[in-house]
């Protein structure tokens, strides 16, 4: 496990001609062997961040750098992207039902990806599909490979999706809300699987809205708000001593499952700003309880202990 970062985004910005500034300064680092949780509310840009790493973001002006294993992804050509996607970095999506092509067998769809990238015969690819499905905990993998997506349960579909993503031994797995569409007991199974993958197969970027999921499955976390990474660091450190007022409020707003039941949940008043109406200063300032004059200026994202945080309180 080298200390050199596998993926490093520096001040990534994505400006869409109509929708506005979708990403407004995303900086994060993912080292080999880490599971990085990218957490944020809807519209925070967390999914877009994941899509950008594969060059699948909507058309728009993308600035900043995206370094992957020493290469700058922002300069990739269409051909380079094709060889990169699915081979070096792969992605799984929220709804495994719609993410698979409904009219082809699961096995054939996984095989397609293998044959796109690896010089294997059909038979070899087939064997690889079966062994992959088995490794992902799919019961009777030979038979499952012959099934259509709609014939599988949600949990099995997501396992098959993960098998497809890992089929060419990528170095990075991007998982975009992989458990949101699943039942809680199945979600727990998939999270355990992702943790095993992080320890064994690939570095993982886990995109989620759920701090609980991050707390249980990730080693590191980056918190996004309105297109900006406002805090990042090791999971235990962030959960124990969240620095940014938004992270603090977000953690407080989760209803507890044990201990005394609060009469009222602490809330963050208001709603996140729309992409075309972001404040020029700190993006969280309009909802922040500790807002002050200095918040008119966009705070710098700087290290503090093992955290990185963008807030004037820690300047």
């Amino acid at each position: 496990m080298g200390s050199k970062a596998l993926l490093s985004l520096r001040d990534l910005r994505l400006e869409h001609p109509r929708a506005g500034v979708l990403l407004d300064g995303v900086s994060l680092t993912l080292e080999r062997g880490q599971i990085l949780g990218v957490v944020g509310e809807s519209g925070s840009g967390k999914s877009l961040t994941g899509l950008s790493v594969l060059g699948l973001h909507p058309a728009g002006r993308l600035t900043g750098t995206m370094m992957f294993d020493g290469q700058d992804l922002t300069h990739f050509t269409a051909r380079e992207w094709q060889g990169f996607r699915g081979r070096r970095a792969a992605m799984i999506f929220q709804d495994p039902m719609s993410a698979f092509l409904p009219v082809r067998r699961i096995g054939a769809q996984i095989e397609e990806q293998i044959r796109l990238h690896l010089p294997l015969s059909r038979r070899e690819a087939r064997a690889r599909v079966v062994s992959l499905l088995g490794r992902m905990g799919v019961p009777s993998p030979e038979r499952t490979a012959e099934r259509y997506p709609h014939e599988l349960s949600g949990g099995l579909r997501q396992r098959a999706m993960i098998a497809m993503a890992l089929s060419c031994d990528p170095e990075l797995l991007i998982a975009d809300e992989p458990t949101t569409a699943l039942d809680v007991t199945v979600q727990a199974q998939i999270l355990v699987l992702l943790r095993e993958i992080g320890a064994r197969d690939a570095s993982v970027m886990l995109i989620t809205h759920d701090m609980g999921v991050v707390a249980q499955s990730c080693t590191h976390v980056a918190v996004l708000y309105a297109g900006v990474v406002i805090e990042s660091g090791p999971v235990e450190a962030i959960l124990k001593t969240p620095l940014h007022p938004y992270t603090q409020a977000l953690l407080r707003a989760i209803p507890p499952l044990s201990g005394p039941r609060p009469d009222r949940l602490p809330v963050i008043e208001g709603a996140p700003p729309a992409p075309n109406a972001r404040p020029s200063g700190c993006v969280f300032a309009p909802r922040c309880a500790s807002v002050e004059a200095r918040c008119q200026m966009r705070p710098v994202f700087r290290s503090r202990g093992n955290h990185q945080v963008a807030c004037v309180l820690y300047a």
Binding site: L54, L56, W81, Q82, G83, F84, R85, G86, R87, A90, M91, F93, D95, M97, S98, A99, F100, L101, P102, V103, R104, E112, Q113, L116, H117, Y148, P149, H150, E151, L152, S153, G154, M164
Partner: protein, 326 residues
């Protein structure tokens, strides 16, 4: 098996309904009394009465209906009111291969044309090419097929027939495949192209829209994330997804044409097909002929529906099989 039986029942019901409707409408049409027509112009009332009795037109309508159905389906010797002694069942069966040949040829042109123009329009969405194709499609859609057919005839049969471009065009009419396959094909190329123009216009637009919708589908995003290139995206993924909705449209149009919907083309190019027969029956108010052609058409539409359903089941595994997904 259960599905097959219910289909069969459904088909019989449709055929029964249509035949009753045609029958009822015919006898409710003023001036349609077949006795007077059969007896001839200026025949005396006694002659007309004799004809009426001989043909059984003085019996109750339901009896007449049943007699006609008996002649049509069981003894298969229903004869025309206009050309005495002509067996309409045989006529329809003689005309069917002509129509089938024409429509099959047209379908090849129209599917190929729709694929080419649909894919080009979708892949270069919003470009000059896309706009040009959409204008052409509109032109194709709005050109009346009889006018287009006449123009094609004018150009290929008389005006430029002697040029290198049209020297191969045979005279109007139909040569059976069994007589001479080459002449059969030559004779059908221009009529089929004429017939397919409007369909290419319609289907290329439908396919373009469906393809663009499919490109937005989640599964296409997955395909991109897998590292699939543009060819694979369009052909293996988008076309596979969008072909399904175009298929049901195609099935209905195809059946409709087989059943006589290519009437105008057949008339313009003097092809003795089912449409031509329908035209003839309608213009002479010949009930047996009308009945035979209409039921033949209905039969095809029902059959085609069943075929398309079967094909759909084959192409879209989500339909028809037991599933335990949501």
């Amino acid at each position: 098996m259960k599905g097959f039986l219910s289909r069969l029942g459904q088909m019989l019901l449709v055929l029964f309904g249509i035949s009753v409707l045609v029958f009822a409408v015919f006898f409710a049409t003023p001036g349609s009394d077949p006795s007077a027509r059969i007896a001839g112009r200026g025949a005396s009332p006694e002659v007309v009465a004799r004809v009426r009795h001989a043909y059984g037109f003085d019996r109750a309508l339901p009896v007449r209906y049943l007699t006609m159905m008996d002649h049509l389906f069981i003894s298969r010797n229903l004869t025309s009111y206009v050309n005495h002694g002509q067996n309409v069942v045989e006529e329809v069966f003689d005309a069917a291969p002509v129509t089938l040949s024409l429509v099959a040829f047209a379908a090849i042109f129209w599917v190929a044309g729709a694929l080419v123009f649909g894919l080009l329009g979708a892949a270069w969405q919003g470009s000059l090419l896309d706009r040009l194709i959409s204008i052409l499609a509109l032109v194709g859609l709005s050109m009346p097929v009889f006018w287009l057919g006449e123009m094609v005839n004018l150009v290929s049969q008389s005006r430029f027939h002697e040029t290198w471009l049209f020297r191969w065009v045979p005279p109007l009419g139909y040569v059976p495949f069994t007589t001479d396959p080459v002449s059969w094909a030559k004779g059908l190329i221009l009529p089929a192209m004429t017939l397919s123009v409007a369909f290419i216009g319609l289907y290329s637009r439908v396919l373009r829209t469906d393809l663009l919708t499919a490109m937005q589908d989640d599964s296409l995003r997955t395909a991109r994330a897998k590292g699939a290139g543009p060819w694979r995206l369009w052909f293996a993924h988008a076309l596979r997804l969008s072909g399904l909705s175009a298929l049901s449209l195609f099935g209905l149009d195809f059946a409709q044409l087989l059943g006589g919907g290519a009437l105008l083309t057949e008339v313009v190019f003097a092809l003795p097909g089912v449409g031509h027969l329908t035209y003839q029956g309608l213009s002479t108010l010949d009930l047996p002929l009308i009945m035979a052609t209409v039921l033949y058409a209905a039969f095809f539409v029902v059959i085609a529906n069943a075929l398309i359903d079967g094909l759909y089941r084959l192409l879209d595994p989500r339909i028809g099989r037991g599933s335990h997904g949501q």
